[in-house]
């Protein structure tokens, strides 16, 4: 039975990852293409030049093909919190549900109402109303990103909540702490600006393809002019917010940072590994034995993490075995504290079943944060609640190679995009881009690379969160629903086949629409 549940957990993780990966194949283009289309339509309304109307409508057509499947996979994601992660839904629903509801009320309706005007309103509503509808669709899409990222950020860094023994769940105590936590704000900025970059690269890449074939020269050149500057500014903002993400992770998720850097032994003035090849897991026990080869930049990791070249950055071994000098508790101690809380819950249940109200009141007092005793219990014991469900400290270490390489793919590609967009903007401005065929080819190839980088970013964020569903409070191993693993396997395969079929259809339609070009607009 226990093994079957673990299998359910693994399949549920696989299914959620599958849905999220497919969802994120479509959403970033929607997030970024929306504002780009709105900018182009603004140029149409301001100049009255019909060229901009046709250009807007062309990119809008591609937006529509991509939009539908993002909506479909998003619906699945929302409900999978309930179907596959019912314990999680109960334990944090009081906090997590609110952003999802706000997302629906504020963002989805805005998006779904005005997208109809955006597509069917040409000639039926005034130009200004149509332009407003286009902007509101773009804003609605990005607003929805805000709320779902607030929810995701809370899983990485739970704040603004207290534990209620009576309901056995975490309850919101500060909405502003949840909605405006530094992790949420930065995650939103990083995700949205990276999506803007991806969409800009998509527009630049498709336009470059036209230029390579000597087609649609004016539309391609003007689209590149808008998208390259939009993308360049977005890519710079992505780099800035990415740097902040690292610094925030250093304090809120040190294990994620250590795994991303394959840093086993913490050190002062820690270097940043630019590139390296990791040794097999069994051989990676210390910094010296972690790599076949590596290229480091001295002290950069300390500087990026704590804005101090001499700061101590804890490694995986420090976080597992503890480091008294740095005030880091051993994982075994955290697990013991977590188990003590679980035992307390068990005693509370025994007392409840026996009708022993005195014991129940005594235990309830432990969870009352308004008393010194309760405050100490919550801080010293309950803060490690989730550790009590772990079997061994090693479970705390996420997949190091996946994180290490994904992070480098993301950062490396991001740096390349800044350089590429800068060059494209510069040559396009000087009307010499058409002659730089190597650059145009690079633009086309950067479209898939942008998707790869975007997916790698989410791998860093979510694989780095493991083993937690909610950091320190609930590991994924007890967050899932109790459903037969065979049923999750079936839905996993069903979704895999369906999403892949729809992806093939989407790509086929998209490529055909690009080949057709704007001639029908």
């Amino acid at each position: 039975m226990f093994t079957d549940y673990l299998s359910t957990v693994d399949w549920s993780r696989a299914q959620f990852a599958l849905t999220a990966i497919y969802h994120w194949l479509f959403v970033p283009l929607t997030l970024g293409l929306g504002p780009l289309i709105a900018i182009m339509e603004t140029l149409y309304v301001r100049t009255g030049d019909d060229f901009w109307r046709r250009t807007t409508k062309f990119w809008m057509r591609l937006f529509g093909v991509n939009f539908a499947i993002g909506v479909a996979t998003g619906l699945i994601l929302e409900f999978e919190f309930g179907t596959n992660w019912s314990n999680y839904s109960h334990f944090v629903g009081d906090i997590f549900g609110a952003p999802l509801a706000i997302e629906g009320i504020f963002a989805f309706f805005l998006e779904s109402t005005f997208i109809a005007v955006m597509y069917f309103g040409w000639g039926k509503v005034s130009r200004r109303f149509h332009l407003t509808a286009t902007w509101l669709t773009a804003i609605g899409a990005n607003l929805s990103a805000w709320w779902i990222l607030v929810a995701n950020a809370w899983m990485q860094h739970p704040v603004g909540c207290t534990f209620n023994l009576e309901t056995v769940r975490n309850e919101m105590s500060s909405f502003s702490e949840v909605a405006l936590s530094p992790v949420a704000v930065n995650k939103f900025l990083h995700t949205v600006t990276s999506s803007f970059t991806l969409a800009a690269l998509f527009v630049v890449g498709v336009s470059a393809w036209y230029l390579l074939r000597g087609r649609e020269k004016r539309m391609a050149s003007k689209s590149i002019a808008v998208a390259s500057i939009f993308g360049l500014l977005s890519a710079l903002a992505t780099a800035w917010s990415g740097d902040r993400s690292g610094a925030i992770a250093a304090t809120t998720q040190p294990m994620k940072l250590a795994a991303m850097e394959a840093l086993y032994d913490g050190e002062q003035g820690a270097p940043l590994t630019v590139i390296g090849v990791l040794r097999p897991e069994a051989e990676r026990t210390s910094n010296d034995e972690a790599f076949h080869f590596r290229i480091d930049i001295p002290k950069l990791l300390s500087l990026m993490s704590f804005r101090d070249t001499e700061a101590f950055v804890p490694g995986i071994n420090d976080l597992i075995e503890g480091n008294p000098e740095q005030g880091i508790l051993p994982a075994a101690e955290k697990m013991a504290r977590g188990r003590a809380v679980i035992d307390t819950l068990a005693r509370y249940r025994t007392a409840r079943d026996a009708g022993d109200t005195q014991t129940m009141q005594r235990i309830a007092a432990l969870f009352d944060g308004s008393t010194p005793q309760g405050e100490e219990f919550l801080r010293e014991k309950f803060a490690y609640f989730g550790y009590g469900y772990l079997d061994s400290p090693q479970q705390l270490v996420p997949n190091v190679p996946l994180l290490f390489y994904s992070f480098r793919v993301m950062v490396g590609a991001g740096c390349l995009f800044i350089l590429l967009l800068l060059l494209v903007w510069w040559y396009n401005r000087r009307d010499s881009l058409t002659a730089k065929r190597w650059l145009l080819h690079a633009c086309v190839w950067c479209i898939p690379l942008a998707y790869l980088a975007s997916q790698a970013g989410w791998i860093v964020a979510e694989v780095g969160r493991q083993p937690w569903a909610i950091r320190d409070l609930m590991p994924v191993s007890i967050a899932a629903s109790k459903i037969p693993s065979g049923s999750v396997t079936t839905t996993f395969i069903l979704f895999l086949v369906l999403f892949t079929a729809l992806l093939i259809a989407e790509l086929s339609i998209l490529l055909r629409q690009i080949k057709i070009g704007p001639k029908n607009e």
């Binding site: 039975m1 549940y5 673990l6 359910t8 093909v65 939009f67 499947i69 909506v71 479909a72 998003g74 619906l75 699945i76 929302e78 409900f79 919190f81 309930g82 179907t83 596959n84 019912s86 314990n87 109960h90 629903g93 009081d94 549900g97 609110a98 509801a101 706000i102 629906g104 009320i105 504020f106 309706f109 805005l110 779904s112 109809a116 005007v117 069917f120 309103g121 000639g123 039926k124 056995v168 309850e171 105590s173 679980i342 819950l345 068990a346 509370y348 249940r349 469900y389 007890i478 899932a480 629903s481 109790k482 459903i483 839905t491 079929a501 259809a505 989407e506 339609i509 055909r512 629409q513």
Partner: protein, 381 residues
Amino acid sequence: MDTLSLLQHYWWFLISLLGALLVFLLFVQGGQALLYRLGYTEEERNLIVNSLGRKWELTFTTLVTFGGAFFASFPLFYSTSFGGAVYVWMAILLCFVLQAVAYEYRRKPSNVFGERTYDIFLMINGLAGPLLLGMAVGTLFTGAPFTVDRLNLANEGGAAVISQWATPWHGLDAVANPRNWALGLSVALLAMILACQFLAHDIDDEAIRSRIRTCLRRLAGGFVAVFVIWLLTLLMADGWTADPATGVISVEPHKYLHNLLAMPVVAILLAVGVIAVLCSIGMAWVGRRRAIWFGGSGTVLTVLALLLLAGWNHTAYYPSTVDMQASLTIANSSSSLFTLRTMFWVSLFIPVVVAYIWYAWRSLSRRPITREELRDGGHQY
């Protein structure tokens, strides 16, 4: 009534309203189910799809918001029903995924699977979506076999799961209850009737309108018969009631009838709603184009009243058939006072949402769709 209880009732009202709006907007699904019944030629089917297609996003968004609002206000239902009746919910999700892509892809060149496949997707969603949603909502009155013990978290592994299903059927249990079938069929037939009314209003084409009238007359009898049977069995049925002081749950014969008598405003809503739906059927029968406004408002009032019957007056809105005390009420399954209050402030924005939806709808639907409009080009599904 204290603040927490007031907010629990307020949020159940909003959930019920969202559910009621969702059932009204299922006319999109109803129209999809009738696609080949009302559209004989490719051009006629395109007219129908383009009329419905401008509204599909609203239905979809209402479903998503319904789920999100339920999660935010009554998370224990979310974890119990979705995590338990997983087969039913997954089937619902799958058929809505098919809908989302079908509109955009069906007539695009190189769509891999062909227009006919996407039309079949639309029809699957149109038939199965309302039927399954209706059956799932039916379990709010008939119950489901689940247990809930929050302190299961003191266990490990699968035993730590708070809400557990007592049978291996995980939602398919609902199929065994004829009352769930009756509600599912009622919702599916109502969706098709509303679709007939909407399309008669939104499409200016005599051939389609003539078929709509014939189709509606056939559907109306079936809908009225099934719905009346379901309503009568509901009023005769036992319900689970919670003692407001202790929270202890017990069986109360004719609970929903008692709820109607105890809440005369809800009874009036139900009566007005049912009369409006019946009037709309009569209006559409004789070819009146404005029938959809009566049908729509009647549907919203009827469903709102029925969902209020399910949750208000200390009723267990999700009765457990295996452990009565595990049954969910709005009092024992809601979010905390803080969250409900925070969400209350958010909900004040809803009238603004309704206003702009109305404005955008009116802007696009001022004139009915014609064959000429489709032939003129522009964006089409």
